[in-house]
Amino acid sequence: MTNTLHRYGSPEGLRDDFVVFAIPTKANREGSLPKLKAFLEIAAKHGPVNMGGGGKGGFHRPSARLTPLVHWRERAAVTPAEVIEGCESPGTVAAVFDDIEKVKRLLAELRQRDLGMSINVSGLTEDARSAAEAAGLTRHSVEYSLGFPFGETDRMPDRRTLELATMCGHSMVAFGLVQKLCQLVREGRRTPTEAARCLARFCSCGVFNTARAERLLADARDGG
């Protein structure tokens, strides 16, 4: 279910953005749920900044029944154990990392555990390739993002809005909300952390990188 191919950014701006995911297919879907949960349990040990599975969101989720106190109180994040428990049927499960060294360690453990699920790294392809090689793996296939080169590209918003919004590949993070939160951060009415978590709540796959978002929002505040 993850749709992480076209995350916008320069090579330098994507250095802290890697999504590692496991996905079943028709031939191995049956009996795959424990393996997918095992993937998330392994990933959780390596310090992901977000995790998702089951379409219920990542560490930061919306609530169908809030109390007005939410305006003065920090909303609790979901734990990795709760994310894992929420996976009730086979589907894509994902973990997001802000450091390629963590990815290398995760891949080494995944190779050793041999879960039998297709494992993909979405991120800078040369970094992913070297991380695989460090774990003793040779990449099987690759899909390159060529961005959005055709059509009415003049309808695209500014670079920072794209960098933040495309971290939900399903376009659940609206350009308008990104621009509103950038403005709130610039005005000092929200911190980058609060704004990043607000954006992450709209990503039902849990692949929104809150660490990168915080960095980008802090840059917006500081005029970068």
Partner: protein
């Protein structure tokens, strides 16, 4: 999606969260309303916003007092205070909007949620893109623009005329009346969706043909087209695709890397 005017308090939080910009507050009624023609039924507003279920009359009174004294109210930007957003039953062909826009709805044709495609994510098991082949994912409408099937139809017909093969296990292919010509069924052509992915496969020697078709159609669509191209790697993890794409003038540094850990591993005939 429908916004219940009896519950809406005109706070405008939902205006910013709509990926299609299809929600606006009516200046006359002070209630938010959805432009049904532009709404793609993605449920982002309904599912992404938290709900407080406060009494609308009380919220309106408080907001009215604050406005009177010109107080600036600073609510959480992702909250609907009164739970006014209301999903509606969707009939065909409008239901196709949700199928292609709400990532939590699995596509009937593939059983896969999201955009309904597996691409090379499971290539180690499916062998979908084999040695010497290139798999294209041509995505319309993303990011944040949306697309009508009429625009997709123009491009798929051009690709069909160029003789490329459409992936059978793909939601857009399942809506074609003829997968050889790329013609999409008439009754959905005016429907708007958040995005849709067309998948085609060619030999590596025809990569430039597909790129040429897409370039030639670029000014005939009212949306943006994202492009992904995939290939099977050799025993060293390399592929000729890199050089072919560079020759077409593309610069690329990001993508998905399949590590080959899926089982049963697809074995290509030698």
């Amino acid at each position: 999606m429908w916004i219940d005017p009896g519950r809406c308090v005109g706070c405008a939080n939902c205006v910013a969260v709509c990926p299609m910009g299809a929600i606006a507050v009516d200046a006359r009624t002070h209630r938010a309303a959805v432009n049904e023609d532009e709404c793609v039924e993605c449920y982002t507003c309904y599912r992404g916003m938290s709900r407080e279920h406060l009494p609308p009359a009380a919220v309106r009174a408080l907001r009215g007092v604050a406005r009177l004294f010109r107080f600036r109210f600073d609510p959480e930007p992702d909250v609907c205070p009164t739970g006014a957003l209301t999903p509606r039953e969707l009939a065909w062909p409008r239901s196709v909007r949700r199928a292609f826009s709400d990532p939590l709805v699995p596509h009937e044709s593939t059983g896969v949620a999201g955009r309904g495609t597996e691409e090379v994510k499971t290539n180690d098991v499916t062998g979908r893109v084999r040695a010497g082949e290139a798999g294209f994912t041509v995505e319309f409408g993303r990011p944040g623009i949306g697309v009508r099937f009429r625009d997709i139809d123009r491009v798929t017909r051009a690709l069909g005329a160029a003789g490329v093969a459409f992936e059978a296990m793909n939601p857009v292919t399942s809506l074609m009346t003829d997968a050889r010509t790329g013609a999409i069924r008439d009754d959905i052509l005016d429907e708007k969706v958040l995005s849709a992915i067309v998948e085609v496969k060619t030999g590596l020697d025809r990569v430039s043909d597909v790129v040429r078709v897409l370039r030639s159609m670029a000014d005939q669509v009212s949306t943006v087209i994202s492009l992904g191209v995939s290939a099977r790697c050799d025993a060293r993890g390399a592929t000729d695709l890199d050089a072919l794409l560079h020759a077409e003038g593309f610069r690329f540094w990001r993508g998905k890397t399949n590590l080959g850990l899926g089982r049963p591993l697809y074995r290509e005939a030698v």
